[in-house]
Structure formats: structure tokens, C-alpha cells
Symmetry: C3
Subunit: 372 residues, 3 copies
């Protein structure tokens, strides 16, 4: 079937889907240090195959080929033989916060909030178990490093985590979401770790929010999340705190974001209570079938603090530890699978721990996106 | 459907195609400087998915994985909601000449003429609009750099171009094609640009036609094209001139080629008046269905001049600026999608601007090709 | 059709299959020199498309994307118009021994025996012809180097080989297999060649069985193979000898392995007399359809000798020339296409030619595998 712009096959006890996504970005950037110029990039260019076979078994192989590179995304085998429960082994999303778990196809702004670069766990090679009811989810995982790692002469780093979500209200146009997550990461070599983030602009290569910490033994990561859908309005917020355990003592990094969105054309963001994430927005009318698509406005404020007095500790090299980002966005969902986005991003980087002057980075960026 | 060796799916208002191409080359090379030896390579090894969804929207994702590399080819989203008009955004062919726009699956010789390396625009990341009638086409585009570019600290280069074609005659076995193209390229850093070409042999890594010019600000590129199909005979020719604007004045590079082909088995080259390019040759009889396929002979002469007295300008580093290439080819189209090619190539490189002796490079090269 | 967990399409005179395989490995390693630590990797992560078109023509394009790399596996065009005979051109398996020719999807242990790294020919870019009867096969090939090779200034290396197999008994649960192979390899630059092998553990990067030989002109490789299936029992063994012709005289390397396997659940290893290889094990009962899958135990002993007094020849740099590997394995075939494997590997490396102490490398490694 090619219904809805997706290529799916089903016969007997097996089904397959072949698909992918393209995101073409163009950005005009203004930066005090002139780190980067105006540019274009393919933010994502993925292909995948997934299937459900012999009733109880699933798999997915998804690769990103953007910028002429190969990066494994989902590469897993799943056992779905227990009720409402999936056990996955391989490279896949480990438990983490709401924005991190929501597909890049469905996020409200072009980039996830700047804090995700530091606080989200993302995809790792490991094992996880996820179970759910109609309005709650529970997901626990144990992971090694990512698939491109070579580990000569030392053990691979590992970690584990858990996330729980609960939705007191879960309807098509009204929803309330609450969630919490915790993860722990061990670093085998107790070396220097870098905690850094882009300012919600991906076409630049520098990550101005940037803290290096020596002798890191492990980290503990705590997250809280909440969201609400009220017809065309929605709100979403997350707070993260990371405790970094080192030979020189512990340090606390944290960050949060909050955003609101409004559909001029009356749609609602699509909350999935049994998955604890947001899904695909389906416009009430489709361009190509006599309609005008869906139009959405959004504004987000993010705050990140990677400082905690680190500059005063000897042997710790830091830069760009604090700051905030404001993003204003317009989305046009021409069809359920084609979306055009425009974001204006204003970020302020306070280089608290260094002699570097504070820095403003602004960008106007647009995206053409399809998933298939 | 697997009809004609192509994998296509259609249902409702959407259709998809999955496909690709393989070209396996083997070459024996004789070179005065002994730059390269006998070798083999996969010239192209591509996979793609393309689709038409929600009536008016199209997309294509095509990658080349030859030689264990990833290179993005087509990565675009198209809007086809206007009559006979397609608007594309992403990485795709910008307006350029006839041979450049004709798919590598359908070109008459193993390599496009040597001038294309210098004068063709090729695929770029940008936006283009193409419109057409039954026997004419008009295509304009605005482009950034290609998808693998990182642009730290400066703006990405950009350019624009246009191509128009007209076919006074456009039949299945008789056709006359006329066309013209213009493109402009800006170079943001006004640095050294290299204009260089392989001698219609791709298995060698050196590009002996090679001119470097300092302080290049922009280039203007003019192309003229003509072709004729007279039953089994066909003729094709193109001329290009490039004006290179630099801090040290302007320089003119140019080149042309002309070729003829003849089908021993009576087929005609397939001209598409509404696309302004040549398409797939379908043999009258197919190997595997009791036939012998189609047999074609061709001969091409190419001339390239990258000199323009450049050697006399200080600070300009040049080599291999002039030359010519003669190619004799035999093609065997076993089926519409499987082709075997043999080319004998004789190229002469005049190192006008350097002390290097003139150079002859000859090759006998063969290809096994399939597209699916 | 999605039957059996495979995605196949057929209509008219053409058929296509899209598929791939994933193998996720986790290993705990103990090594005297502490060369490597515990780790994870994707051993294989492949996608392919293959087809049969216009009756007599076939093709396959298969890539491995494991560890974020692109490696071409099968990239060939085949002509199958002669009875029981296939002519292939492109990158594909050249004639070699039984274990090398058996797909990694179907091998009994996680890794092929250590000798294969040195003695098997594997996939090369070239031409081969394979013919067969019900219980015999004959396969000859002529090859260049692999597809990623660049050969500036010298000719590509080439080689050729042949393999013959005969099965006096070939039934579903009873089979006897005999085979022999020979291959020759020319080295154009007569430089230093490295003959080295991993100890049946792939997550480590070092190849402790490692002999370098200078001035290698060519090698001749001889192989003998035998296997027997007796209901749930099976035995398999191979012996290889390689003669290395150098400017300093000839050297002889050799190795062998033998293994037995037993299915606790009563299945038999699946021998294909017309292909001269082992194929897919189908469990009598499938997990997901009320069954427990198939359970198999296996033990293998491998011995490799890359020494031949090489240390006494000036200008020859050697290390880790002799040794043996013992592997004990358990396989659980949950479905015909999903398999979980656990191997305990104990290897002993005798650094005969160097001052390096002898070395023990042990590993406990597990794999989750699917093919689709």
C-alpha cells in the first residue's frame, strides 16, 4: 500500500515498511565572533526498513546519509510476545525526556531545545524494555556506547536509565502529560568529558555552550516533563539536572525550556498517551486535494547552565557555560508528510568562566521536510 | 509491478519506485607519464526511492555508494501542482547542457565529454523551476553549494542559471534539438579555483587538463547545443565558453564536442522533446526473449582550451591547459536495462603553460551496466 | 509477498527481493596483553536489492553499513541463460572453501574459523562462471582487486581460482560433502604482504596471528573440505595450504579446522548439494507460533601455522605465527530468520618468530541476529 504517502506491505503473519525522511535546511546566521556564515545543509536524509514477522518479532534498520556520511540510527530486533510490552536489543532510543523521545519528524521547532544536546541520552546500543497502558508508559534500558565506537585496551562505557509517563487526560484535542526520567552513565577511563550544545541552530559547527570537565567518573541525570493540549493551543516544558561525579568533587549542570504553539487552522498537536510522546499532525485540509494545509505558530524559551563555579577549580577547562535561546517559529503542514518550517533564533552565550566576551548568535532558518 | 525490470508501486493517490544502477568498469591504460595502471572500479552504484504523493507532491532520495563512499545525488521535494511545471527544492540537477542533463544511464559513451567536468553545473542544493511544452523546455535555478559542504566563518558560494530547449522536429525516429544555457557562479572567498577535467577515462585519478586561477570572484558560463536523430543515425554537439572574473582581469575558457552514433540493429536514440534530453534506448529484440539486443557504434571528438595566455600572468599556476580527446565506442543493449559498452579513448594533453612535456593518454575500457 | 519474513515481488518475467541482515554482538574479552576490553559492535548491518529480469538476467546490490561505514558486498550482473549455469560480472564471491562460501547468516559459530582470514578469497571484482548438477558444483573465476581500490601508477593485482564439490549422499537429514579448491594471486608491486587473522573474536581490532612477508610475487592456495550430516549431528572440516612465492624463496603457510554440531531439538543442518554449501536451518517449532525454536550445540578446533621458519630470513618481519583456537557454541533459532548465539572462545597465540611472550585470548561473546 502507498496510502498516506507511506510504502507498506502485508501478507500472512508478516508486514514490512520501507521509508525515510528528508530535511533540507537553509540558514542566514549573524554571530558576534563570525564563527559561521550563511549556509545550507541536509539536516537529515534517512532511509529505513522495518518489519513485524512471525507474529511476535520486529526489527528496524534505519540509516542517516545526510552530508555524505553514514550514521546508524535504529538497528534493532524486538520481541513483542508479551502483552503491551516490547523488548528491544540493538541501537535504539534509550529512556530520556519528552522532546528527545519525540521523532524529529514531529518536533515543533527545527531543532530540539539546546539543553537536549547535554541532557538527552539518545540512541545507544543496548537492551531496553518498554511497557504501557492507555495513558501511561514505563521504559527501562541498559546501554553500551554507540555503534561506531572502537574500544582498544579498555572497556566500553555503559549506562542505564528509566522513564515513566502518565496522562491524566488523553483525548484527541485535550491532553495533559506528566513524566519523569533518570539515567546514569559510567565512564571507564575517568577522562575529560565535554558537555556542549548548539544554540538551536544546526548549520553552525561550533557548540558555544561548552564545558569540559576532567576526571569524570559518572553522571546522574534527572528530568521532569509536562505538556498540555487545549484544542489548537499546546504547552510543553522540561527541566533537567545532571550531577557530574569527578575526582575533584561533584558538579551540577541544569537547564529547562518551555514553549507554546497555536494552530491558526484549528488542528491540535497529536499526543499519544500509550507512547508518552507527540506524533504526526494531520492537517484538516491538504495541499494537492484542494486545501491549504495546517498553519502553526510557536515560541520557545530555553535556558542552560553548565557553570556551577567550575572555572575556580584547577585543571578544569571551560567556555560558554551559560545562556539562553529564544525561538519563534512558523510551520506549514502542506500534507500530513510534507512540512515547511521557518525559525528565527536569538541566542545569548555567557562565557562565565573565561575571558571571552559574551556572544550573541542569531539565525533565520528555513526547512523543507518530507517523510515517506 | 516489476514490469520492464523496474520496481513500482501504486495505490490511491500515491506511487513509489525503488531502484538503482550498477556500472562495473575495467580499463587498460597507457600514459606517457605512467600516472595510472590497469584497473577496475564501480563507476556508479546507486540506490533510490522516489514517489508522487497527495497528487501534487513528489520527492526523490538517491545515493551513490560506489567505491565504498556515500555521495548524495538527488535529494529533493517537488511541487507539481501547476500545469507542466515542477518546482524542486533540495539537491538536484541545476540547468546545464544537453549531455550533462542526460542521465548517465543513457549517455552514448562511457564518460561524458571531457568539457563537462569544467563547464557543466551538475547537481547542487537549491531551488529550481522547470516548465515545458511538447517540444520545448525552460528551466531556471538558484543554488548553494553541494550537500557535503561545511562553511565555517564564511558564506556558502551560490549561483544561478537557466536553460532553454526547442525541438523543431520531435518524432520517434526523427528529431532536431536546439538549446542554450547560461549560468553564473559567485565565489565568496575570492580564492584559488581549479578548472580541471579527466580525459574521458574515469578509472584514472589525475585530471590532466588542469588550470588553477587565483582571486576568482565569479564565473559566467555560456552553452549552445544541437542534436539530430535520423532513424538509426544521430548527431550531437555542444559548445561552452566560461568567463572567469578575477582580481587580475578576466579569462576565457572554452570547449566543444561533436559525435555521431549509428544503430546496426535499426533502433533510434530516444529524444524527449518535453524534457530536452535523450532517454532510454529500447532494443527491437531482447536477449532472454529470443533476441540479440541492440548494437550501436559511435565516435566522438572533444576539444578543450583552459589556457587563454594564463601562464603569462603572475601568481597563476597552470598545467595541462589544452587538448583533445577522440573516443570510439560500441554499445550492446542486451535488454532495455542492461548494456555492455566498450570504448577506445585517445587523448592528447598540451601543457602549454608549463615545462611539462605534452602527454598522450590512451585507454581501452569496458563497462557492464544495469539499471533497475 | 512477506512470506517467511522476506520481502519479495514478482510479476510477468521479473522478480525482485529487498532484504538485509543485522547482527548485534556483545563481547567480554580477557587478553594477556590487555589489547582490548569489553565491547559491543554491529558485526553486520546490510541491505540489499536483488532481481531476476527479462528471464535470463539477474543482479544484486548489497551493502554493509555496520559501524557507520559503507562496504560493498555483492554488486553484480548475472547471465543465467545457459542451463544450470550462471555467469557473474562485478563484485561477488570468488571460488573458495566451504565455510567461506556459506553465508554468514548460516555459519555455525559467530565467526568463521580463524584460518579463513588468511586462506579464503572472499568477494572480489571480476568474472566467474558457476555450473552444477544435483549433487556437484564447479565454479571458476578471474578477479581484480576489491571495489575500494585506487591504483595510482601501477596495475591492479589480479588472481584466479576454481572450486569443485561432490556429494555422494545428499538428503534432507543425511549428506556427505567433499570439495577441493585452488586459487592463485598475483601482486603487481612485489611488496610486503601481510597474512593475519583474528582469533575468532571480531570485536577486537588486533589480529594476533600476523606474519608479514617482503617481496611477495604471488601465492598459490590449496583447499580440501569435507562435511557430513547424520540427522541432528553434523561434522565439518577443511584444510588449507598457501605457497607464498617471494624474491627470497617460497614459504608454506597452512591451517585447518574441524567441528561438530548437534541439534537438541532434532533439526538437521541444511546441505545444498547443487550449491556446495550449507543453508538456512528451519526450526521444527517457531517462537511466536507456540514453539520453542531450535537449539544447537557446537564445538570447533582450529589450528593455524604462519611460521615456516620465516624468522630466520633477513628482512622478514613476523609476529604471532602459530596458534590454535577452541570455540564452544550454543545457538537458539527462535524463528527461521532470527537467531541468538553464545560462543566461548579460547585462543592461544605462539609468537614463534619474535621476543613477544605467548599469549592467551579468551572471550565470551553473544549475538542477536535477524535476516529479512
Amino acid at each position: 500500500s502507498t496510502k498516506g504517502g507511506h510504502l507498506k506491505f502485508k501478507s500472512g503473519d508478516a508486514k514490512f515498511q520501507l521509508g525515510g525522511r528528508l530535511m533540507a535546511d537553509y540558514a542566514a546566521i549573524s554571530d558576534d565572533r563570525n564563527l559561521d556564515g550563511d549556509g545550507s545543509e541536509f539536516r537529515r536524509a534517512r532511509l529505513f526498513v522495518k518489519g513485524q514477522i512471525f507474529n511476535d518479532w520486529g526489527f528496524k534498520a534505519q540509516y542517516d546519509f545526510a552530508e555524505n556520511d553514514v550514521v546508524a540510527k535504529d538497528l534493532y530486533i524486538a520481541y513483542d510476545g508479551f502483552d503491551s510490552t516490547s523488548i528491544k536489543v540493538g541501537n535504539h532510543f534509550m529512556p530520556s525526556g519528552l522532546e528527545a523521545q519525540t521523532s524529529s519528524k514531529y518536533i515543533t521547532f527545527m531543532e530540539r531545545s539546546t539543553i537536549q544536546d547535554v541532557f538527552a541520552v539518545g540512541r545507544k546500543n543496548g537492551v531496553s524494555v518498554a511497557t504501557h497502558g492507555d495513558n501511561w508508559t514505563l521504559h527501562g534500558g541498559l546501554h553500551m556506547q554507540d555503534v561506531s565506537n572502537d574500544n582498544d585496551g579498555r572497556d566500553e562505557d555503559y549506562g542505564y536509565g528509566v522513564r515513566a509517563t502518565f496522562a491524566p487526560i488523553t483525548g484527541k484535542t485535550q491532553a495533559v502529560h506528566l513524566g519523569a526520567s533518570y539515567s546514569h552513565q559510567e565512564f571507564d577511563d575517568n577522562g575529560t568529558e565535554r558537555f556542549r550544545a548548539r544554540p538551536e541552530i544546526h548549520t553552525i559547527n561550533t557548540r558555544p555552550f561548552d564545558t569540559k570537565i576532567d576526571g569524570v567518573e559518572s553522571t546522574d541525570n534527572y528530568g521532569l516533563e509536562a505538556a498540555a493540549v487545549m484544542g489548537p493551543f499546546s504547552l510543553q516544558t522540561e527541566y533537567f539536572a545532571k550531577e557530574v561525579e569527578t575526582a575533584n568533587g561533584d558538579f551540577d549542570l541544569d537547564g529547562w525550556y518551555a514553549y507554546g504553539s497555536y494552530f491558526l487552522t484549528g488542528e491540535s498537536r497529536s499526543y499519544k498517551g500509550s507512547k508518552g510522546v507527540f506524533g504526526r499532525v494531520k492537517p484538516k485540509s491538504v495541499v494537492g486535494k484542494g486545501g491549504i494545509g495546517a498553519w502553526e505558530l510557536g515560541v520557545r524559551y530555553s535556558s542552560i547552565d553548565l557553570y556551577d563555579g567550575l572555572a575556580t577549580v584547577p585543571g578544569i577547562n571551560t567556555a560558554g557555560e551559560e545562556g539562553e535561546v529564544l525561538t519563534i517559529g512558523v510551520n506549514w503542514y502542506a500534507t500530513p508528510t510534507i512540512r515547511f518550517m521557518a525559525n528565527y533564533v536569538q541566542s545569548t552565550v555567557e562565557h562565565t568562566g573565561t575571558l571571552l566576551a559574551d556572544e550573541d548568535i542569531d539565525a533565520f532558518q528555513v526547512r523543507a521536510q518530507i517523510d515517506f
